[in-house]
């Protein structure tokens, strides 16, 4: 009963006058900068917050998320895991009719790569006719950057969670500029994909058979301390990966070693796809805990921004994807930008990317700001997350763990939306990347999830 034996230090929330009355008595206070919750959420919040399952459910879900131990265990051709006649894509489910430019471009490219169409018009016609089943990556234990299109002759990283046993897949990163994931499908794009199928994929498969599983949690933790946030900046992580792989690449595929190493070295984002799959095994481990209000996926298909919540199964809650705010390449500008696209927001969902911005001062200019803006972004995310990551730490914040585990009730209470770092795809199919920056998720995706949680709360 120490309450009665010490002069209290008081957290005050609400009327400022009562805080002042305490300070007039020389009492130390911590005033909460309180505002009413998002419009229309008060009733649902009261129900969800009073759900007796919620606290324990969230503790379980977020501990599963942060205790995941992702290992890169193999590289496999997508045809081994993909159902015939199916392509995967990023974000919540989408049809050809509603697909944006870069999504259509990537699907056309995949049709051409797979030899299922003679030219781009033929490809578009066949896709419109529904010859291919379009399925979200997320529903097949996968994540895809940008358009996220996966077709049978692409290769996938296979990541296993050593703690909870889950598996996740992600494609191999093609590099920058004119690439399929940004909706480009010209000859050089297809040529590179064919080389990846014939050379890179088999080489990495052979390499991993020599190295054995690679501890991605450890690589990510190191990269954060070397200035990456693992979404828009993966330079340190890619370098670390290259060090781990190089000797085995030389031994496994001596004839192709130079081109393989040169390809990885020439692409600072090579590690991004591994970071995404590593994030995916963690967030999947946190799925399906009844009563939990933890966000387990945020993903965009270029048209809709969707979220999934642990206590709500595989349901998507969506709102329109926004156009990112950022810096543009060359002569491109905001008019060339497609709305937000890609599964890479899985990094934010697991406490990386925008949430770890304070670890990555080198990228703040992408988002048009100062280092203090990056620090502010990360600090603000502690307001809407349930935990601090035990392994992913930020040196500049005194090695505080990154904010992890977005809670829809905290989003509704604070009105703060997740900070998302992203690339920007060209609006017109075939364009490729036009820039990179920050994007705001649509608030209705979170409020819709909250209302649904309220319906399920007893």
């Amino acid at each position: 009963m120490s309450l009665l034996s010490t002069p209290p230090r008081v957290i005050t929330v609400g009327a400022g006058l009562l805080d002042e009355a305490l300070r007039a008595q020389a009492v130390q206070t911590v005033p909460v900068s309180w505002r009413p919750p998002l419009p229309g959420t008060a009733e649902a919040l009261a129900k969800v917050l009073a759900d007796p399952r919620r606290q324990a459910a969230n503790e379980l879900a977020v501990s599963r998320l942060t205790s995941a131990r992702p290992y890169l265990v193999g590289v496999r051709r997508a045809s081994e895991v993909l159902e015939a006649g199916t392509f995967l894509h990023a974000g919540p489910p989408i049809t050809w009719e509603r697909a944006s430019g870069p999504m259509r471009g990537a699907l056309i490219g995949a049709m051409l790569l797979e030899g299922r169409a003679g030219d781009e018009h033929d490809a578009a016609r066949r896709l419109a006719a529904g010859e291919i089943a379009l399925r979200p990556c997320h529903e097949h234990a996968a994540v895809g950057p940008m358009a996220g299109v996966v077709s049978p002759s692409m290769w996938l990283f296979e990541i296993r969670d050593d703690e909870h046993g889950g598996t996740a897949y992600c494609s191999l990163n093609e590099g920058l500029g004119k690439v399929l994931r940004y909706g480009a499908y010209g000859p050089e794009v297809l040529e590179r994909l064919r080389w990846m199928d014939a050379v890179l994929g088999p080489a990495l498969k052979a390499t991993l058979e020599r190295t054995g599983p690679l501890d991605l949690r450890s690589l990510i933790a190191q990269a954060l301390q070397m200035g990456d946030e693992l979404h828009n900046r993966n330079r340190a992580a890619t370098s670390l990966l290259l060090r781990e792989l190089a000797p085995a690449v030389v031994e496994a595929v001596p004839g192709h070693a130079a081109e393989v190493l040169r390809f990885i070295n020439g692409n600072d984002h090579f590690f991004l796809n591994l970071a995404m799959a590593a994030a995916k095994v963690g967030t999947d481990a946190a799925r399906d805990v009844p009563g939990s209000s933890l966000v387990v996926a945020m993903a965009r298909n270029g048209t809709d921004f969707g979220v999934q919540v642990s206590g709500l199964g595989g349901r998507w809650f969506t709102g329109p994807a926004g156009v990112p705010d950022g810096l543009y390449l060359g002569t491109y500008g905001p008019d060339d930008a497609n709305p937000d696209i890609g599964d890479s927001t899985i990094t934010e969902t697991s406490g990386l990317g925008g949430f770890a911005m304070a670890a990555s001062p080198a990228i703040v200019r992408f988002v048009g700001g100062e280092v203090s803006d990056a620090v502010r972004a990360t600090r603000s995310m502690y307001e809407i997350t349930l935990a601090e990551h035990p392994a992913y730490q930020i040196p500049g914040l005194g090695f505080r763990g990154t904010p992890v585990g977005i809670d829809v009730t905290l989003v509704a209470r604070t009105g703060l939306l997740p900070v998302v770092n992203t690339g920007i795809a060209g609006r017109v199919p075939g364009t490729g990347q036009v820039g990179a920056g920050l994007v705001k998720p649509p608030v209705e995706a979170f409020t819709a999830a909250l209302l649904s949680l309220a319906e399920q709360a007893s």
Binding site: S2, V10, I11, Q55, E383, R413
Partner: protein
């Protein structure tokens, strides 16, 4: 020539006390006749209508700025300046732009604290209080309008976490010499108070203070704690805490009569305590009697409770008593005593009730509604009212109320609840009300008896 301006700022929230202060500052600008900056609740829209403004369409979540002035633009600009100035809480130094002020109790609790004081509008209090309990911190819920089921849930959670929940609708507490909410300046002493009535506790402790007897702690539990629905969970915990507190020699429990089932539990619990417990169950005894019994139990003399007869000595022509109160228990006590005179007892309104505080500051801070009530009173009325001093209350209630007392044709009797240590200066307040024509008592029961004798 003055004109009206009414603006609606969509979805902009400020707490009602901050808004009342801005309204007051605008009113003091030269050329401003009326200024009201308030959330667009039904009550506030009604007041605006009564003031003759054209009322726009607005939701309770919107902010209203209404001014009648020679230069409405200057007044609105001043309102906006003050509204944005209040955006940045003091304590967040400007040279540390990267600092994130806590937006919820949950994140504030990470900074380390001993106690949480929640005073958000009642419909939002549950989230903040639950954060506190889950962080293992005791919480005082000043907010009213919290549903009983939520109160029960919070107190059950608190049982599991072994922390005290004071409230909801807990107006006052004193812990380790620190006053929380509406809090009189009280000296240290042997009496520990557990109170299901905020103003009840204030009345009793102020009288004890006058008699030279201090308190160890005052733990409020909320007016519903001893109901069957809530089950007295906080009362039982508060009793145990005071029993273990070495500074507490006598425990005084102030409450309305509990439900019979809860009463048995409380009695069982009291029987097991080492510290003697005095039960002051209202209205079996009045608050002044409770203070007197406490003094007797401690073997201390009972003094005369100070009062100041009306300055003018004018003959009362009042026929009806109108209670214009800010404290619920004080209002009920006064109604009961003055009402004993049968038909001469009149209408009592507790302006501290939920119905009047939604989207408005408490009447202990904001005098507007009670000033209006005084202006509506007739010569044949006797207005019986409380004025409560202490931290958190109006820094100078006489400044706004004494003028209204002087202007009303009614006879006015005031129960002045405060101590000589309170920042408002008890004697100066008493003198101002007396000069305005009121009779002033430090005992609410005596004020009510005096009122009854005048009609």
């Amino acid at each position: 020539m003055s004109s009206d301006a009414v603006l609606v700022r969509k979805g902009t929230y400020h707490d009602s006390v901050a808004l009342m202060r801005i309204s007051r500052a605008l009113t003091e600008m030269s050329g401003v006749e009326v200024a009201m900056v308030a959330m667009a609740t039904e009550l506030n829209l009604g007041i605006l209508r009564d003031l003759g403004f054209t009322v726009p369409a607005a939701d309770p979540g919107d902010l209203l700025i209404a001014v009648r002035a020679h230069d409405t633009r200057a007044a609105v600009e001043e309102a906006d300046r003050r509204l944005t100035a209040g955006r940045h809480p003091e304590g967040a130094p400007a040279d540390q732009p990267a600092d994130q002020p806590p937006l919820t109790t949950r994140s504030a609790a990470r900074t380390g604290a001993d106690l949480v004081l929640v005073s958000t509008p009642g419909e939002y209090a549950f989230a903040e209080a639950q954060d506190a309990i889950q962080a293992g911190l005791p919480v005082m819920i000043f907010s009213d309008g919290v549903p009983a089921a939520q109160e029960r849930r919070l107190k059950e959670l608190a049982e599991a976490q072994d922390v005290l929940v004071m409230g909801p609708d807990c107006g006052t507490a004193l812990i380790g010499g620190v006053g929380l909410g509406f809090a009189n300046v009280l000296g240290p002493g042997p009496v520990g108070v557990v109170a299901a009535s905020g103003t009840g506790a204030q009345q009793v402790t102020c009288l004890l203070d006058w008699a030279g007897t201090g308190v160890s702690h005052v733990l409020g539990v909320g007016g519903r704690d001893l109901s069957a629905e809530v089950g007295g969970l906080s009362t039982l915990r508060a009793l145990r805490m005071l029993d273990e507190d070495p500074a507490t020699e006598l425990i005084l429990l102030i409450s309305k009569p509990p439900s019979p089932e809860v009463a048995r539990t409380v009695q069982d619990s009291v029987a097991r305590l080492r510290t003697p417990v005095l039960l002051a169950l209202l209205p079996e005894i009045d608050l002044t009697e409770a203070a007197e019994r406490t003094l007797r139990a401690l073997g201390r003399p009972v003094p005369e409770w100070p009062s100041w007869p009306a300055w003018s000595g004018k003959q009362s022509r009042a026929k009806t008593i109108k209670g214009v109160y800010s404290g619920g228990t004080l209002s009920a006590e006064a109604a009961l005593i003055a009402g004993r005179a049968g038909s001469r007892g009149g209408d009592f309104v507790d302006y501290g009730d939920d119905a009047y505080t939604r989207g408005r500051a408490h009447p202990m801070i904001d005098p507007t509604l009670r000033v209006e009530a005084l202006s509506r009173a007739h010569e044949s009325d006797l207005v019986l009212m409380d004025v409560v001093l202490g931290h958190g209350a109006d820094p100078d209630p006489a400044a706004s109320l004494a003028h209204a007392v002087a202007r009303t044709p009614a006879t006015v009797v005031i129960a002045l609840i405060g101590t000589e240590g309170d920042p408002q200066d008890l004697h100066r307040q008493a003198a101002a009300f007396r000069e305005a024509g009121a009779a002033v008592f430090t005992s609410n029961a005596q004020a009510a008896r005096h009122a009854r004798s005048l009609v």
